[in-house]
Symmetry: C2
Subunit: 429 residues, 2 copies
Amino acid sequence: MNTSIGVGVLGAGTVGGTLISRLVDDREAIATKTGLELCVKRVAVRDLAKERDFTVDDGVLTDDLLSVVNDPEIDLIVELMGGRDLAGDLVLAALEAGKPVVTANKELVASRGPELIAAAERTGVPFLFEAAVGGGIPIIRPLSETLAGEPIERVLGIVNGTTNFILTRMAEDGADYADVLAEAQELGYAEPDPTADVSGADAAAKAAILASLAFGTWVGLDDVYHEGIEDLSPIDLVFAADFGYSVKLIGIAERIMGGVSARVHPVMIPVDHPLASIRGATNAIFIQGPSVGELLFAGPGAGGAPTATAVLGDVIDAARETLAGAQVAPKIRFSPGELVPFGDVATKWYLRIEVDDQPGVLAQVAGAFGSAGVSIKSVWQEGEGDEALLLIVTHRAREADQQEALRHLEEIDTVRSVAAVIRVESEEA
Amino acid sequence: MNTSIGVGVLGAGTVGGTLISRLVDDREAIATKTGLELCVKRVAVRDLAKERDFTVDDGVLTDDLLSVVNDPEIDLIVELMGGRDLAGDLVLAALEAGKPVVTANKELVASRGPELIAAAERTGVPFLFEAAVGGGIPIIRPLSETLAGEPIERVLGIVNGTTNFILTRMAEDGADYADVLAEAQELGYAEPDPTADVSGADAAAKAAILASLAFGTWVGLDDVYHEGIEDLSPIDLVFAADFGYSVKLIGIAERIMGGVSARVHPVMIPVDHPLASIRGATNAIFIQGPSVGELLFAGPGAGGAPTATAVLGDVIDAARETLAGAQVAPKIRFSPGELVPFGDVATKWYLRIEVDDQPGVLAQVAGAFGSAGVSIKSVWQEGEGDEALLLIVTHRAREADQQEALRHLEEIDTVRSVAAVIRVESEEA
């Protein structure tokens, strides 16, 4: 029986380089454990002259992407180049040619998932992307296979390690956002251009994938509202702790109001929630369902080695299927469903408001909420000379109504500034 | 395209009953989400007259087990009857007849796994047992698929909810083992005959399965040393907390000394270890690997609903494969490996020793350890009248040497009793 699989890799950055090293160095160990001979036949890179941490035979490196996809000796494509257009076209070409594809590209899956999944279904080959969410944490298979029969209600995920590292340092050391970001960049936890991480865009792509798999309704990247951590101040993390909350950047996928909602924003979450204690660059995904109850998956969410482990698991799985010569049964199926616009989602808000310290201000502020139909749960007031600080937590109300209250607030003369707004997740109304 | 699958269920206890209810009640929802028509054709029960929580058509219930396996309208068998002999023979017959089998029977998998996996491989059908470990927590697929390329070093699991419930109550309320056991029985967290849980036997079957999948070397039920929680006293849980440890019943699967070790016993684990904070009947599995780092999976480890979710996920997966008409690629492969006898495993011990309060006793006690080649890490002594209490923590030493030290201790006249022995897991030597 033939047990050899020719592997072509598109992109040899951090994850790609680590994967290739392991395919080459652990070739025998993998063969012993799995019975598969995984042979790296070609690796497409942008710069042939650049020095690499891995060693491959002469002629394996190429800068011709399409030649890898078209090589008849290559049975399986691993896409680790990133981006959605070129990468997506190459993945599509491979799937249409009947070659299984493994990718870690969350942006690609979140933007072109249905098209690629449909192509894989037509030719009956695996299209696997375990590494696209949560790095080394197994989450795609559990969601799409183990929990296939569970009407999942809610998925909450800390799915971006950079922002969780920054928030942990801000909360524990009272450090400013800008200082911690600079530190994270020095440590390699944040990119030189950190926008995708700190803006919530990276987490939004992952939330889109989690929502799509959890609910079986396609949620695209552009369907996910996202808001980042750039405007958070350490003082609000302190107030949050006083109130019994941690502040985390969380991807939320929920079945609500007969539809599906997916969004990413900073969240005040009760300190006894399992996600509240996830520190540093660790990722964690929390799943709720009526039968299965509450599940937590935690581990390293990024980094070359854990992500390469997830990619390698997919490569082994796809290679097994390919050698079995099977028409692969599609594991993912989308049916139509309604997306709930973010403005209709009911949330609770925490607000820090700077006001003139004079009689009647609180009544005016309360009126702003009242006229928007938002009711206030608690107010905490502190005077400081001629200025006072109001910390307000509202009851649950439509996001659009909360935004209306915010506009009313900003029109009040005695309101100097709405200095912070953070949404609150808790069981209570 | 035919999308209908005839399902036969062997056993309709708590898990079986819940599964059947969901297959019947959620039939349309499952069809929408997965594209599969899952039809419960026959259910084998011991007592046809017993009232059931689920409703099936006339003629579906039977007390003839073999008729379910042999029914040509049944494409897929779910085994939930328990036990290893009869259940195993029926599962084997189904697999040999080319019918996929899903089971939650940990004892069966841990005792006859290789035989059944080989039979499934011969006929190319799925043999799935996600529910056998960790109830609703997805762990079998992550271990055998996502982490297939990771040379896993260590798996630590709280895999028995009954004992974790009892230990949590003992630690938090200082309650006696016997009292908490009685309470757990009243609450339905413990069986009327709790032996399998409290003796560690249930956890041993799960540890055998985890070790086999993690290391790709078959570890049978009888290869797992196990020790239960029956002899633990609340006072040792208090001392453990003073020293910075929690006491948990843990299944340990490790690659050590060029081989594989699997064992279950009470463990003092540092309070900052992720498993230390797992409370009540929750299960959790902690995995360490050189690339993936540390992963934690937590959730409800037992109960009809979560376990039925895991079984249903397997049923859907097996049904998809069956409809794809594919020769299923085997996901699990065992290669030879050495099992390290428990006596050769290096462990640290905590001991509570009652001695006469007189000069020279400590020297005698220290001598008992020294003559067995075990070195002492710390001693804490407390006098109480003419009796003294010694709390000793040793450095890591071979289990057999620790046992020899124990025999020497028990021969010393001034040692009244070795009142407690608990093994300690920590990073230090």
